[in-house]
Amino acid sequence: MTNPLAGSYAPASADGEPVLALRGVSKRFGAVQALSDVELEVHPGEVVALVGDNGAGKSTVVKAIAGVHPIDDGQMEWEGRAVTVHRPQDSQHLGIATVYQDLALADNLDVVANLFLGREITTYGTLDEVAMEKRAQELLDTLSIRIPSVRIPVASLSGGQRQVVAIARSLIGDPKVVILDEPTAALGVEQTAQVLDLVERLRERGLGVILISHNMADVSAVADTVAVLRLGRNNGTFPMRGTTQETIIAAITGATDNAVTRRAARTPRSEGEV
């Protein structure tokens, strides 16, 4: 199934190798073919928006990359060489950080403790709170993240601040690709702006970002490239610049492949050209 509207692939920074690429990836859950022949490329300093309707396979792609659901077929390439990812740890070791929708922050711990959870800095076996706090402050400063204090429990932060902390947390391990699963789903206007600013800063730092979103406004605000999934297949990859939202939405909904478009395609031209 090819999409007549799909533009040729032209990433924002086409000068380099993709840091992460999926080549013909397929995934099957029992009788359900969740992904078939999915292609995806992420370059350093590129924000790729992964969009699609519910059940299009966005989450499956993310979980495949993150190593939660290993792929059945096809190849995953990291910096040009083929890699296999069987466990979440494999993906983390490569340099892929995933921020899931349900933030996974411990509410009772403060911001510093959450940022370093599972990889605390220690001296002589004891927590080096000073070093962690300093590093946390530096990290938040470079990302222009404003929170009341790094020493308050995450519970007292707003939704946007929590999302921003969750993203900052993924950066502690110095990843090259960050996957954001619906980072603005539950946020207000102001907080969404905050998160989108952060996404731009990640790009400025040369990270590859895969952004999953339902919100076309968000996507058009920050994405360089939009990869559309429909029913587990690629349904076009568009450069954000020069592509209208209507085009993307048409690809998402499959409007290019319904009765109306078929009729429209049929009348002026020959049949069978879908």
Partner: protein, 447 residues
């Protein structure tokens, strides 16, 4: 992860777009007030503390309103309890009674300390009372009946407690049986094992040897000498003050916010007053009981483990959000099993301390009230039943409340029925305070 995380700020490519990026510049569309980069708008939630007394007062008010009550309710409660009983009985507010409370609270306090770990996970251990009774029985059988070396018997006893706790933790963590049920089964089963061990006689008298000698009622720090108590008070105060000032110096050197020197002095003095007062009072009686010294030393160690080590951080994070802990690479089952093992060890130690007060291991060792009192103590002291919030010091504060009430009621000649009703009421009050403060924390966005 073996490679230490490098601060991302240190690794920008100079030729990259980050060169043009000014972190101080307010990002467009994020700040409603232009020019706010110089003087950010004061968000009422920002924890900017004003200088001086006013600032502390405001912070205190904010904390109380936000439901972060800490040890405040229990300290007030303790004073109220002491006042009421002192008015009722002139013998209550005496050095001898303080000594009595200080000595008899240790055994249950140790059970409560182990329970604090379990409560931090948001779980419960109903077996500690039975395990403490069983531990006393094991020790008695080994050291008295079989004439083993007393210290060896102590070690075996503590190991048994650890294994029992670890086993319960394993069933909970690996098989997935709710902790409540596992430990309820343990509550019955370990009591049965204890009765079986004690046999038909039912009671085994202990000899004042090894740990049992240190836990006995006539064992005092440095033989009860006057300077012994003050030595402990000095160690506590100096240690506390030194750690505060050391921390301040390190934070200053690293350029992160630190507390002002005045506050450090105030905190140290605030600790020194009750510590020296207690030393003075206990000196007026017979000195500091050795079991109390051991208890306090263990509390200091546990506090250190919980707040200053990765292990403690894991305990808090599992208590706060299991999924977050799992994704951070923390082995949740290992944390759970180890916490139950700690609880079991403290239960065994508490059992030895309780047995030492009567110099006998008997069927009363697994008194279900011990369990209830220990849970009550941990909760009354301010450790949340909902997990993730609390300190080991709540075991000390809580058990002081419980024993103060018990001693008072005993002194007034009130029978057991009244005693249970009042302790039950206090426990309920503590849980209500816990639940309410959690609700306030939720509504003010802090839980």
């Amino acid at each position: 992860m073996s490679t230490p995380p490098t601060p991302p700020s240190g690794s920008p490519d100079p030729s990259g777009p980050l060169g043009e990026f000014n972190p101080l510049e307010p990002p467009p569309g994020i700040d409603p007030t232009p020019g706010a980069a110089v003087a950010p708008p004061v968000d009422p939630r920002l924890l900017v503390r004003q200088e001086g007394l006013r600032g502390y007062l405001d912070e205190f008010k904010r904390k109380v309103r936000g439901g972060e009550l800490g040890s405040l309710p229990v300290v007030i409660g303790l004073i109220v309890i002491w006042l009421i009983f002192s008015l009722k009985n002139s013998q209550y507010f005496t050095a001898a009674n303080a000594e009595f409370i200080a000595y008899y609270m240790v055994g249950l306090g140790m059970l409560a300390t182990g329970l604090v770990f379990v409560l931090l996970l948001g779980e419960i251990d109903l077996s500690v009372g039975s395990v403490s009774g069983l531990a006393a029985a094991i020790y008695a059988v080994l050291s008295v009946t079989h004439h083993w070396n007393a210290w060896l018997a102590v070690v075996i006893t503590l190991l048994s407690g650890m294994v029992i706790g670890g086993l319960q933790g394993w069933i909970f963590a690996k098989i997935g049986v709710p902790a409540f049920v596992v430990t309820l089964a343990g509550f019955l089963a370990w009591q049965g094992v204890m009765l079986w061990l004690l046999g038909s006689t039912g009671t085994i008298n202990l000899e004042p040897k090894a740990l049992n000698a240190l836990f006995s009622g006539n064992s005092f720090f440095l033989g009860g000498q006057i300077f012994g108590a003050y030595l402990l008070a000095i160690i506590a105060t100096v240690g506390f003050g030194a750690s505060l000032f050391l921390q301040q110096r390190r934070r200053k050197a690293a350029g992160v916010p630190s507390r002002p020197t005045g506050e450090l002095i105030a905190r140290t003095v605030l600790l020194a007053i009750p510590v020296f007062l207690v030393a003075w009072i206990l000196n007026k009686a017979t000195g500091v009981p050795n079991n109390l010294v051991i208890f306090l030393a263990l509390l200091v160690i546990c506090d250190f483990v919980l707040r200053r080590t990765t292990y403690g951080r894991k305990v808090f994070s599992v208590g706060g959000n299991i999924e977050a802990s799992r994704r951070a690479g923390i082995s949740v089952p290992m944390v759970r099993i180890s916490v139950y093992a700690i609880s079991g060890t403290f239960a065994a130690l508490g059992g030895l301390a309780i047995a030492a007060t009567t110099n006998a291991a008997g069927q009363a060792g697994a008194d279900p009230n011990n369990l209830m009192m220990a849970i009550a103590a941990a909760v009354i002291g301010g450790t949340s039943l909902f997990g993730g919030r609390g300190r080991v010091w709540s075991a000390l504060l809580g058990i002081m409340v419980i024993e103060s009430i018990n001693a008072g009621l005993f002194m007034l000649g009130l029978t057991l029925d009244i005693q249970y009703m009042i302790t039950g009421g206090v426990l309920l009050a503590a849980v209500i305070v816990d639940s309410l403060s959690r609700r306030t924390q939720k509504s003010s966005g802090r839980a």
